[in-house]
Amino acid sequence: MTLALKVDKLTKHFGGVRAVSDLCFEAQTGQTLGLIGPNGAGKTTVFNLISGVYPVDLGSVEIHGCDITHMPSGQRVRVGLARSFQNVRLMSHLTVLENLLVGQHVRAASISDLLIPYRLIPNHRWKREAREALAECGLEAYANEAVHALPYGVRKQVDLIRATLAGAKLLMLDEPAAGLNPTESNALRDHLRSLKKRGITILLVEHNMHFVSSICDQIIVLNFGEKIAEGSFHQVRQDAKVREAYLGQEGE
């Protein structure tokens, strides 16, 4: 196994508030890493720092040995980083298929790719690839639907497919199971397992502990921006600091 992600002493302040402090962790290729913690623990901030939405104050982030700490956010997808958002952020004026075509951009970014009239070419390879990705998840019937009209669970899945079509080696998913019913949640779990088999590393923020325990190899627990525990799901659930963070101290 090779190192897919290395986060070293990652620190971020917002004014006087220390949102993330000296955070260190690693993920091996093909591993599914869960990032959990109470609300306000800094999980989404860590995602935003790794993906470049926020600049890093201190520390470093490496993906497959490439230091991306100060790389512009738009270039990180080129080293294999893709992410989803807590609130699904698909392009609402586009169809499902068009959203997936946007996701392919990193692999179709030359001037000639930009100017090919792909809409006029029936079954163009980009459209075919996007349809196949939809078919794998049983969503091909939604290809030409405008995303704003779709059920929440379908939008979540489309968001995930778009991230994988970007050629992700490291996929960061912010609460992918939130708002899904049990059937959709199971389908998502199967989908993530299939991605894992393809060697894609997954970093997951999630509040649904049943989902986390069923999919994650390793868990990191954050509280007030600091790592308080790391290990398997069963190890961290026994940890006193974790219990305190979630349940509060005895006698409080």
Binding site: G52, V102, H105, V106, L115, N144, A146
Partner: protein, 276 residues
């Protein structure tokens, strides 16, 4: 065809060209209120080349359109750092500044205006307008247009997916400027006289209105908007005193009821099932 009808169709052709100059930046979420300034660059540039340097019309029009596009890049790089109302104000001021420059430029007649000797007949204007429509329809079938819509929807996600948001926005702005310059150059050679007041901010505002009315979700929106705003005032000409008031009331009501414009992407999906 009567002279009146020809005049209306020529005005329509110019309005269509101007509408498409506004359309591309607007499709990327940029409200450009300085489009008349780029038309002025094209008009004065081409007129100078045919009058003083005796260039053929086609070369002068092509060069001036490109010049306006180049100015679009130079201006777009700093101006597109602003967003929303600030971008609208910056481009609004830009239109004023360009008009003021030509108003004081003696070499092209300054406030007295600038007669243009070479003439572009109506058929040339129609063919060029059709060419602009064809170009925009072509662009709408490419990834470039898809990315502009993506950027308008969510620039943060577009950036994270690797799309160079600034490059795309500047490109859309520059292509719009080039189309405006092209239209301005034709305008100068059809009407054979230009003055700075022809390219005032009202022209930019009306052109934006064509596009917003027709809708920015479909490439045919600007065409429909330009047709509507050219033809309907002519049809209402019999009610001379009230036509502008009636027209204005209609537009206000329409924009309140259907802010997305007349032609939307959903309309086309419903018609033909969209991308196959």
């Amino acid at each position: 065809m009567s002279g009146y009808m020809t005049g209306v169709l020529v005005a329509l052709a110019f309005n269509v060209i101007a509408a498409y100059a506004v359309y591309l930046p607007l499709a990327a979420g940029q409200l450009n209120l300085g489009i008349a300034g780029f038309m002025a660059i094209g008009a004065y540039g081409a007129a100078f080349l045919t009058n003083e340097l005796h260039w053929p019309i086609w070369a002068a029009v092509a060069f001036s359109g490109s010049l306006a596009g180049f100015c679009g890049i130079l201006i777009g790089v700093p101006v597109l750092r602003t967003h929303g109302i600030y971008l609208a104000l910056a481009t609004f001021a830009l239109g004023h500044v360009i008009a003021a420059i030509f108003l004081n430029l003696e070499v092209v007649g300054a406030a007295a205006g600038y007669p243009v000797s070479a003439y572009a007949p109506p058929m040339t204007i129609f063919i060029c307008a059709a060419g602009v429509v064809a170009l925009m329809v072509y662009i709408s079938t490419t990834r470039f247009a898809l990315y502009l819509t993506a950027i308008k929807n969510d620039p943060t996600v577009a950036d994270l997916l690797g799309i160079s948001v600034r490059s795309m926005q500047v490109s859309a702005f520059a292509i719009g400027a080039a189309v405006a310059g092209f239209g301005g150059a034709l305008y100068a050679h059809h009407y054979n006289f230009i003055e700075a007041q022809h390219f005032d901010v009202a022209l930019s505002v009306f052109t934006v209105l064509y596009v917003l009315f027709g809708g920015t979700q479909s490439v045919f929106g600007p065409l429909v908007g330009a047709i509507f705003f050219t033809i309907v005032p002519e049809l209402l000409r019999s009610s001379e005193h009230w036509r502008y008031a009636l027209f204005a009331i209609f537009i206000i009501l329409f924009m309140a009821i259907r802010p997305q414009g007349l032609i939307t992407a959903d309309l086309f999906r419903w018609r033909r099932g969209d991308v196959k």
